[in-house]
Amino acid sequence: MSFNNILQSIFSALFVASVLRISTPIILPALGGLVSDLSGAINIALEGTMLVAAFTGVVVSAYTESVLLGVIAGILSGLLVAAILGVFHLHLKTDIILAGIAINIMATGGTIFLLYVLTGDKGNSSSLASGSMPFIDIPLIKDIPFLGTAFSGHNILVYVSFLLTWLLAVFLYRTRLGVHLRAVGENAEAAASVGINVLLVRWIALLMSGFFASLGGLNMSMAYLTLFQRDMTAGRGFIALAAVYLGGRKPWGVLIAAIIFGAFDALSNQLGSLDVAPQLVQVIPYVATIVALVVYNIRQKAVALERMRSFQEHELTAQQAVGD
């Protein structure tokens, strides 16, 4: 396959569709990572939360033969994991990073363990008849040649992830609670001093984070695939954390960053036939994240310096005014 063929396949509708499909399980936990990060707690446990939700969704939907119950159970299990993190971090004063790591370990071990107990197989849940979330054809768009293939006929969570990004942006920047949440993350003591219930806000942020991550997990096991595999999240929870920073800690930025990760993943699949090692392509987003992290922090520093300077100038003029 020549280079031209690769280019052709990249600019095809199918490629766009596959990017969307691959990005969704990164977008959803990334939104969760964003919420908790903005509230001042870095949620390492996204990965484990996704796994638990993915597992619970499959098992419950298989035993109740209801996709809806599976999804609800999956979300509840994700909230439960977030609550465990909350109890240990917010009440028992465990460091959130250690608690997050512990939860990830427990999720990996616990899901494999229970999978083995339930099915006698440690690899996947193929013996369970689990459900799949609905796929949506968008009327009108589905009949347009390029757009139809690219954007229609996806799993419902693909669309939900875009909708949630918008809702999250509204929540964070247009609601009282959203502003409080960001204030707590910026400076918890200052927030407390103006009467914000810091503990409550942090609890809400962690639970929201668990909600988003559990949707990401359900997307893995009940949409992207329709079974549970051991370690099926394969580091997506950590990539999601990176997307938070690559996206400049803003909802739409995070969405775009997650899609960039998805695009490189899809690209490395395409390159399999060309004489380029897939590892060399897969490594690009990680390097890009580090570069983005550096750029973001340099900018933050510049902004902080600028603010300090203008504040000092302001104070000086105020003093002079008093002196006069």
Binding site: L92, G109, V283, Y286, I290, L293, N297, I298
Partner: protein
Amino acid sequence: MRKIFANAAVREFIRIVLAVSIALLLGLIVTLLVSEDPWGAYKAFLLGPLSKFNRFGDWIEESITLIFVGLSVAIVFKAKQFSLAAEGQLILGALVSGSVILFVPIESAFLRITVAVLAAAAVGFIWGVIPGYLKAYLDANEIVSTLMLNAIALKMYDYFLTYHIKPEGAGYTASDFLPKAYQVPSFMPKFAGNLYEMFSKQTNITHFLYIMIAACVIGWFLMYRTPFGYELRMIGANIKFARYGGINTKQVIVLAFAISGIFAGLAGAHLAQGIHNKLILNISMGLGFEGIVVATMARNNPLFVPLSGLAYGYLRAGADIMERSSDMSREMVLVVQALIILLVSAEGILPVIQQRVNLNNGKGDGVGTAAVPEGGSDVIQ
């Protein structure tokens, strides 16, 4: 009696033993619920590593890796820098040390092995300087940067192994075995006769055992007997205070990341040269994260790392044996492990236990003492 409990280290020890016991008890309950032969399974788990000589060897080998990684994590965590870089440093350490043995034409076995081990340490150091610099000078979140560096290291390892190291035409992705003449010798000296025969035939415990012991002593000396160690602990206790006290916090942080990388690199060298004697795919499988458990149980003190490394290695080896000899899967130990981290690191649990201890000793001021913040034993000694 009361004097013993007044000692912070003793209290800490009791707390960790309690945490491990609770976790093991929960493991037993799970086993009782699930297994057809719970007692047999749990016995294999708890006594397995001592049941056969080669199993004993597996335990010690695994523990050596864990202790190196634990040391690496302890040093950087002591400064309250949550670097997760050990995984990547370990992978690159394995890659570099294995490659040196395979491809660098140094005649003398001693020299080639030494160069390989030093190269692993050096690459770990470099892979630590990067996130350290980013954290200290640019305030870049170390968790994200180290996770990215881990991913990059893993892709590099896969790339070199698949395209350059794997022998041509091999059906599997792994290197050749390291040449016999250039393998690290058994830790038993040859003149030990029978013992040497036993250990070198049935186990892979090599000279890395001595390197590990030296590393623990050096780690402890560095942390508790040098200015660098003092500054490191100050930064961990209160970074603002440390900066105010005139410590060059940036420099110390970069060094902490880098030195921690040396130990992780050595862990990688032990995997390549001590355990597998070749480079294989997925050589680490999350060992970097296991190091966090070891360091947490040792409360980030290099002298306690061997204890917690051996204890934790024992659990892991026991779980392997349990899986082979019963209907329980080894993943149960992951749950036990997670519980240990949660219970040991939950500083909020400490005052409760302390209060009980004091009350049991019939002292009215128990509640008062309990209220004194212990800083989770991370008190500067």
